[in-house]
Symmetry: C2
Subunit: 527 residues, 2 copies
């Protein structure tokens, strides 16, 4: 950049300086770990030093809670096609009419007293085990898309190879603390068998904690059986090793499939995330307070149900918040209303004493462009500031959840690294105060070479793995790449260098035997 | 902008149709106003209903304040090449040695008691006047870039036509509350004359409040003189009609140019934004607490100086926070450390009783891609949640402030609309609670057609003017456009439909006469 006439008026413009400082040894490793700059150094789950941001005052919270109690008692929640569930509710003192359960005031809250406010989900590598609840935040990848946007820019159906690739990338990503679940739908594997390959992929290609299958009770049973092979039978009964997504069929319905999976997991002492899947305006009222009321009622009913099945089984207060476009019915992300719902729901969850799940890096954009980034950043910022404990869809989500994107994944994990840094305690030590540096430098000089800067610069600032902060000229000389193009290169290089974590050969054989036998017992159908 | 096939499904695009003030009343106006969907309905400045987010506890705040007092007393701040300034400080009781001023403990705080914590900056259209301070937030456009990225995708030097275009777009943008200052550098106008054309452009092509020239004391005098023509002499003396950027030359220096401009404006009862321009690691220590300490010391000295010049003159606590890349020296944006500095500085400003300026939509990206959006969104989210009162660079900033971008401007104002919506009070009325809707719909149905949805959907959700939330198929059929391409179309259509606000012909003539005379008196030099 050459200075030109009148340049002195452009006051808020940064100066650019010199380049190059060699990296090495311990400091480089520390830096890499803190920067989220590449595979290798892993960060443990976040312990938030900053307090959550809250949008509801006491009066509004009490109002929502009272209204949710009214919904539970007066309108009720349907537990469909599950006589066992209805019998459990009747026994617990609820007023059951057909599939509709009406809850006497206080019943759900009473039942929820046995649910833990914090629990550990164990990983096969104990260093990767995570806490869920309290001031902990855990990032997990995208869940559910049938499509991928691949590294050649094609949008196509996902395969089991894509599935393994996303597991590998999540394993390598320092700020992804969890292997997730359906990182994409491997549609090249028959639908009745694919859960086996998915669960195995998490177990084999990662050592981080993971999620189980919820699409049928027997698939949940298979998940638990495989977890017993991996962790040992007793360990699984006494500890939580798998966490599972139990969506409400909003408004105010839990269906047979989800109830079936919830029963399997709760009985096995495994964790359920009870999540009203809300596109406000379709599945809930168009207002924030109305949506929060319904969400609270649904979660209280669903979460209390897990405690009927097995008191003490871990259960999360989940919320998936989006607004619907009143013109086309399409969901919209990154807008103010879902953020407000997330903030409010997090407060309600804390008052209920349950760990909280919401958000992620959500967007409706078809490609990893500015829309994707604005929407994802808005969602992620409110997710983290809300004090969310479990963040599904934290990386890789595109097109309203229809697409898992490699490029978006790499861009998002960079953002997750920033969020993790943001949650660290502020350093108020003598070194953090830096008074000696201010004295040493004094007016009119600069801090580039001072002792304090030399001692701290390796770890002082988060270093993005995606952002290009070079000069325009250098960026142009390097081909005018977009962030998505740089993310593409990074994903390729990570996948090339991936190395599987070790797994006991006896356990691997046991898992493969189990899968082979289960597959043999199933019809070879895509249905 | 012609409507195209399938346009009915492009729900999240603004209805452009008509321009100017002709659209009004009823649902359409409310919708446009709340959606930030296009020119026409203007939103007044934000009155935040949500409380600021705070990252420093009482202990940390007291520590920073005590350390800043030590910096002021022990190290001191330089007021360079301005004997008048040094004399004022001496008279006030400071210990002046050469250009270096040492401040007895409590002196700056004492002087700052005369500075207003909230004031009004008047616009020539009284409806566009803004409050600065308290729970008010004002968005102003990008400031300073010598380059533009134009609507043909060229990166080139900015011209006075670009300057006028950005003034026009800011005038039309519902969530831009302020016309700003150097929206770009019109480098085709001689540097000694361009301030006249810039100030005139704000006065003529917008009716929103604006900023004055600070690059030389006589240019500040010209600004005040032109303001007197526009508003009347008495009005200007008694009211604030122009706000001005007075940057510290960090670390711990105020230079002659900035002091000269500050004196002109403070004397004229006009507002100064005293802003340490910080790339942490170069102009301040690499730590957050160290940076906050230096920022507080610099602002206290600079802001107190304005009160020496004229007690009661409005002055802001400004902070421009960025971190430097220790590898290349380039500034980085949207990372955690600048956000933490902004949050902390906002708290310090509130404790000092001064209105606060920071942030904006900052990015180091060369193009309006995902990097630009992630970084801008991270910065803007922390800016607004910090409780910032005056947000410069809220729209259009690219490439670390070297470039004003039309496309980025259009994308950013959409984000500003979302932030404005986010700051509105939550509706806890009976309508907001939506209990009748929940009763009407009941389990297993949907809210799309219910009475409550029908009554509220026009204004229930923020509607983006940039996001595409159509199906993949429709998006593909429409040419697979990026957010930047949609922003390009929108900027073109706005500029086509721009209509200047009326201005009294006598005043316009007075301004043009003044400018002609001033220009005649100057050498025709680019220097």
């Amino acid at each position: 950049m050459t200075m030109m006439a009148g340049d002195d008026e452009t006051q808020d413009r940064p100066r650019r300086g010199r380049s190059g400082r060699s990296e090495r040894g311990g400091a480089a490793a520390r830096r890499a770990a803190r920067a989220g700059a590449g595979p290798g150094q892993q960060l443990t789950y976040i312990r938030r030093a900053l307090k959550p941001y809250e949008v509801l005052d006491e009066e509004a919270l009490a109002l929502v809670e009272a209204n949710a109690d009214t919904v539970l008692e007066e309108i009720g929640i349907e537990f469909r096609d599950d006589p066992e569930a209805l019998a459990l509710w009747k026994e617990a003192g609820a007023d059951v009419r057909g599939d509709r359960v009406h809850f006497p005031k206080g019943l759900c809250r009473q039942l929820l007293k046995t649910a833990p406010s914090v629990f550990t989900q164990h990983a096969r590598n104990p260093e990767r085990s995570v806490e869920i609840g309290g001031n902990a935040t855990v990032f997990a990848p995208v869940y559910g898309p049938p499509f991928v946007r691949d590294l050649d820019g094609m949008r196509r159906y996902a395969t089991i190879e894509d599935f393994r690739n996303f597991v590998k990338l999540a394993y390598m990503a320092p700020s992804i603390h969890h292997s997730g679940g359906t990182v994409c739908e491997p549609v090249d594997v028959p639908v009745n068998k694919r859960h086996l390959d998915m669960v195995f992929s998490h177990m084999r290609y990662s050592d981080k904690p993971f999620m189980g299958s919820v699409t049928a009770p027997d698939r949940a049973e298979d998940t638990v059986a495989m977890a017993r092979i991996l962790f040992g039978e007793d360990f699984v009964d006494q500890n939580t090793v798998v966490i599972n997504l139990i969506n409400a069929n909003s408004p105010m319905v839990f269906d047979e499939t989800m109830l079936g999976a919830a029963k399997v997991y709760a009985r096995a002492n495994q964790a359920c995330i009870v999540t009203p899947f809300i596109l406000a305006g379709a599945m809930s009222p168009v207002t924030v307070i109305g949506t929060l009321t319904q969400v609270l009622a649904e979660v209280m009913a669903g979460a209390a149900f897990t405690q009927l099945v097995r008191p003490g089984a871990p259960v999360l207060f989940g919320t998936f918040a989006s607004s619907i476009s009143m013109q086309s019915g399409a969901p919209t992300f990154g807008t103010p209303e879902p953020s407000l719902v997330s903030y409010g729901a997090a407060q309600l969850a804390r008052r209920l004493g349950l760990p909280f799940r919401t958000g992620g890096s959500l967007t409706g954009s078809k490609i990893p462009d500015a829309q994707a980034a604005y929407e994802s950043a808005n969602t992620l910022n409110s997710t983290v500031l809300a004090g969310t404990n479990f963040v599904l869809h934290a990386a890789g989500w595109l097109e309203g959840g229809l697409v898992s994107s490699y490029e978006k994944f790499m861009m998002d994990i960079d953002q997750l690294g920033m969020q993790q840094r943001m949650c660290e305690p502020l350093d108020v030590s003598e070194n953090g105060q830096a008074m000696d540096a201010i004295r040493e430098v004094g007016p009119g000089s600069h801090y580039l070479g001072c002792a304090h800067t030399q001692a701290n610069f390796q770890t002082a600032f988060y270093r993005s793995s995606i952002a290009d902060n070079n000069s325009f000229e250098q960026w142009a000389a390097e081909g005018e790449k977009t962030a998505a193009q740089r993310a593409n290169q990074l994903a390729r290089s990570w996948l090339e260098t991936y190395q599987a974590p070790p797994l006991d050969p006896g356990i691997e054989e046991g898992l493969l035997d189990f899968i082979a036998k289960r597959k043999e017992s199933m019809p070879d159908a895509f249905a």
